[in-house]
Symmetry: C2
Subunit: 399 residues, 2 copies
């Protein structure tokens, strides 16, 4: 018995737990929580967007004596019925009505990813992902031990023509964030959405459409969901984290009933149900159309900060550094000259009190070491300019 390593001595771990490793980058980024660091690393929404008074009023309402029992008792695994109805109504289109029986409320959309892993992925299953893709999805799915296949992308996101029968054969799912993707900020154009939905309908792959950022569309010109083109072949994931508040941990998924039934069983085994209290608070906030007045204010904030970052990049960055111009969301993606390693750059940047996330962890398999993600969501414009200036100086020194 090795007293110094009880995990080995007393706790025989599962295969999947043995594969869990600590992220070196996460360790580096821990220092970025200090207030003197200008951090473009976070994935947090701006607290300036939280409708705190509305949420406080909603909490008071659902906790009055006549409402409190229902808000504090166990409730249905599927979720609070009025909230499910609200989701179904919001996603229904003329051609594609969404049924309440397709909606499952989840403990953040991270839980939706876990439930999809549980129900769709066996060890060795082929899972198709974007290049790069959302790190949180990789973390969830990896516990079910898939073999990832990276699908080629360009500045507009996934390339439908790359989804050849050889690439997709036997795939358990294709995971995609079509709107202002985390980490790249890219938006998938309409024609590509139609092409992916058509492939899903033809049986090439079940399609997971994860859409946390769709509402954060700076010009208010949303594109149709892939769900609307292929409702029997798409699971759509949504969240209140970016339009209300992430600390509520409230998301939802829309799935064909046959799969929904399995997802509900998996959720029951996972946490019985999402808190009754937070579901009822969220419903109380959104039920009368509040999001239609609130979301434009969120968009405006992020648009201004995105423009500040684009201006700062333009002003400070040396030649050879490239970035995209997001039309929404919280992130943009930077490509450095090929010889600059962004993990090494991060260590130098932290010494200068500025932080970002290197690109490497966002690639399922092999990735580019000269990429990085910048978030402008929580940094005011003046600080954005200062932070980008420091970063540019470090890059220029390496060019």
């Amino acid at each position: 018995m090795n007293q110094r390593d009880p995990s080995i001595a007393h706790w025989p771990l599962s295969e999947r737990a043995r594969k869990l490793t600590s992220s070196a980058i996460r360790e580096i980024l821990k220092v970025t929580e200090q207030p003197n660091v200008i951090s473009f690393a976070g994935g947090l929404p701006s607290p300036a967007t939280f409708p705190t008074e509305r949420i406080a009023a909603a909490a008071a309402h659902v906790l009055t004596p006549e409402n409190a029992t229902a808000s504090l008792q166990y409730s249905a695994t599927e979720g609070y019925m009025p909230l499910r109805e609200w989701v179904a109504a919001r996603y229904s289109t003329a051609g594609t009505p969404i049924r309440t029986t397709q909606v499952l409320i989840t403990t953040g959309s991270q839980q939706a990813l876990d439930l999809l892993g549980k129900t769709l992925i066996d060890p060795g299953s082929k899972v198709l992902v974007e290049t790069p893709t959302y790190l949180g999805a990789l973390q969830s799915f990896s516990l079910y031990e898939p073999d990832y296949v990276q699908v080629p992308t360009d500045e507009q996101g996934l390339i439908p023509e790359a989804l050849t029968p050889e690439l997709t054969a036997g795939a358990r799912l294709l995971y995609a964030q079509p709107n202002f993707q985390n980490p790249t900020g890219r938006r998938l154009p309409l024609a590509r959405r139609e092409a992916l939905a058509a492939l899903a309908r033809e049986g090439a792959f079940p399609l997971i459409e994860d859409d946390p950022y769709g509402a954060l569309d700076y010009r208010g010109t949303p594109l149709p969901t892939m769900l609307s083109f292929a409702p029997e072949h798409v699971v759509h994931l949504g969240t209140f984290s970016k339009v209300l508040a992430p600390g509520l941990r409230l998301g939802y998924l829309i799935a064909p009933e046959a799969l929904h039934f399995k997802l509900v069983q998996a959720k029951q085994a996972t946490d019985l149900h999402t808190p009754s209290l937070t579901q009822r608070i969220a419903y109380e906030v959104v039920k009368d159309g509040f999001l239609d007045e609130h979301i434009p204010t969120v968009r405006a904030l992020y648009r201004d900060q995105c423009e500040a970052m684009l201006a700062a990049l333009e002003h400070h960055m040396p030649e050879g550094v490239e970035w995209n111009r997001p039309e929404g969301g919280m992130f943009l993606w930077v490509t450095l000259p090929a010889h600059i390693n962004s993990v090494e750059l991060l260590q130098a940047a932290i010494a200068q009190n500025v932080a970002f996330v290197p690109g490497a962890p966002f690639y399922a398999n092999d990735g580019q070491t000269n990429t990085l993600r910048l978030s402008f969501a929580t940094v005011p414009p003046a600080k954005i300019d200062e932070g980008i200036g420091r970063l540019a100086a470090l890059i220029r020194a390496r060019c």
Copy 2:
């Protein structure tokens, strides 16, 4: 492509999802939600025990302008630090201090079960359980496809002598509810706790001590936890569901650091963190010793209803029916004459507007068909007598 069965046509399910089946008993019990049914079937705590005014005041406090941002923003996977410190202090004993670094806040203790399944169980792993055992644990663990081994029990719970080297060899864990177990209401005596902890220390098995009902001890004479005897070999699970309110979905686990580290990584992939809002509300309610005044009122309510049920059983039941006398908790366990099948009895009972849960689903493998679980938690004494009277008449007709 088979349009009538999209689960087969478009959604290639994982092995574990294919094994998920709908429970026939759950379907039967759906009718018990009607108000004219006297239901001893529920596992719900009595809403009379919810401290609604306290929770409403706490919600208002954590959502004031100065507190709201922290209550609504993303937060640490490990949980809200003051709440973790509160748990550590509450479970520390003179001989066994509990470190905050051992505590993980979970989305109900159901999530703790899922995280333990994720980190400890591979397909085919040996998992030791009580006979009978908690259904929710079977549901969680089963998604990780273990082979269950039922450990013999008697009226006092698990029999330590039954845990022979042959039975325990290679076990990934032993799962037990030592206090007022769901479904039987049994409490494990001190000597057996010591014996199980000693076996765990000797390496016979890692021990999962699930304790949702320990506080509901009618005489206020708690027994020591097995955690206190073997802190490096026990994971202890606790919950606020039975002492505050289950709709908050708040639980916690205490684990040795080496395993805690893996559980935190698994939780991050599962739901990032438990809602910041509910954690801060719960902390605000409990921080000044509120549970010490509140829990005695919860105990008194359940004790009175338990006594009412025992009196009704004594009064109405024919010879040949046996039951235990719980010293705490929400449940008692009935054994019918061997020829009476409790699933068949349930169908007859529902026709008489009275309900219970048959014993069969609580057995991991083979079980007794003449057992059933009665909950007295949500039924007032007069209704208890009426319901038990109806049930006794049905049993008498079958004796």
